[in-house]
Symmetry: C2
Subunit: 331 residues, 2 copies
Amino acid sequence: MSPARGDAPSHLAMGPGGEFDLIRTMMARWGTLAVGLGDDAAQLPGDPRTRVVSVDAAVDGVHFRRGWLTPQEIGGRAAAAALSDLAAMGASVEAVLLALIVPPSWDADVPALADGFGEVVQAAGGRIVGGNLSRGETLSITTTVIGTVARAITREGARPGDLLCVTGTLGGPGAALAAWTAGAVSSDWARARFARPVPRIAEGQALAAAGAHAMLDLSDGLVSDARHLAAASGVSVVMHPEQLPVGQGITPETALGSGEEYELLVAMPPAAVDALRPHWDAQQQTPLTIIGEVQAASVEHPAGTVRVIPRNSQSAVRVEFATGHDHFSPS
Amino acid sequence: MSPARGDAPSHLAMGPGGEFDLIRTMMARWGTLAVGLGDDAAQLPGDPRTRVVSVDAAVDGVHFRRGWLTPQEIGGRAAAAALSDLAAMGASVEAVLLALIVPPSWDADVPALADGFGEVVQAAGGRIVGGNLSRGETLSITTTVIGTVARAITREGARPGDLLCVTGTLGGPGAALAAWTAGAVSSDWARARFARPVPRIAEGQALAAAGAHAMLDLSDGLVSDARHLAAASGVSVVMHPEQLPVGQGITPETALGSGEEYELLVAMPPAAVDALRPHWDAQQQTPLTIIGEVQAASVEHPAGTVRVIPRNSQSAVRVEFATGHDHFSPS
């Protein structure tokens, strides 16, 4: 093991947060043994298509609570969250591996959990090719996903002048979580957005084919994920709160901080967005909305900066917003 | 999701056990959505080399206890257990992904854990290309490993007349576990075999090149794993207890049931073993020992049968032995 010597240059810069601090600690220990960390998925070279691989965990009590979701929804949501990382690379889905840690109290729910998991994998066009089953005190579902892509879209290609676009309608998972943690009832729409997210596989491929420069999926929340994209690309971004595609009754503040949306955030040249628009509206059920622009990093707004500014505002005053939740922040 | 309809023909038959019953339940729910389950690793076609992928979890309180091992050993052992599945396919190591679930009480140990994990990946010739970090109540390390191989050795190719061979010296992990659970002190050798297993990557490649018919790694215990090989290959096997390569002070009974050895069990034609022997002894540090034979399945000894019979015994009386531990058996 090489001595600690900072991140290898091949890694993408990541935004702030306790989780990412711990990841940076591990990257420093690993030195050049680790390559290309920080993107939605790792790339394994292949001809004619690159294989892309990612892993994601869903943990009872952290990513969901048993009373909130049915076992079928828990299984499906775990698969969707992992598959969303392939969507963010513009990839098609090839294969999935499922590592389950199952306490005895969950044994009777495993068939329903497997059904929900399988339905989402099948809808995404994948196959289940392996897995692992262990006992443990807490249910967790760790999903490895493998896809293929002709040209992988990473987080690091955004350029000044690109438009920032997002798929779907935001704020549902954040609103559902806020309701549940307050002991209230979530709206049906918000609950469905939390319980049954859809990985945007076809949308990611369409955006890649249309010339996307950089892309990721919204897991930490729009502001946090935009920071990752801006940091990896060495740019700053501006988002306009009144342009955000929010669900009924959802505030822009909720949409900016709502995690686990599994929608796609993409940076594209304006001409590519214009050229894509008629095809998108004809072929995709999911809205595609322009929410901001990519700007060059500057002394005032260094790489990784995310500003939320009303479009017609003359002032550069930053709007305050709730950030995405970070399970690793000191409480 | 297809209705439950039994295992798809592409899956390998697995031996008995509560864990495998739950896996069979999931396979039945998935129908043709799941392919090729039951081997050490999944195969993804490629030219000129097939990629092989596997996932393995190490859970605190299930696969180890915090007081038994250092954090560095815990990290290294998790990597070794996963990489061992690539060894069992005869593959070389390409890439590793690490999904960590970390309770706050483990945060200070993450650097040492990362060191141990990285050292084993590096020694095996791999790179760390991705991962995931989550909070949770129980530490778990779920490792996805990706390798490449010209011809993957599965569990299903053993033929009557093949010799059954094993790498290494058996019984250490079982003896260490027995000592610790009895509140006693393990021997240094047995402790090292439990704490710092070595994935037999070079050995697996040598056995594949020499013409191995079927291979797997010893994770559940010699008898349990021999059952998997026999079931998958549609044969029965006979092992001779006096031929087992056991550590000092280890009984054959302990060696037959000792799990998490991460040695390789291989079925090969006698001529291939003879031809390999001089190269093996010159190049490998690890012993290779003939411990039995593969026989045709019969009415008396159907596919999947494992018999443990002294070589010179006239009787076919089965020797009683401890089976591997099964975290999923009713207690």
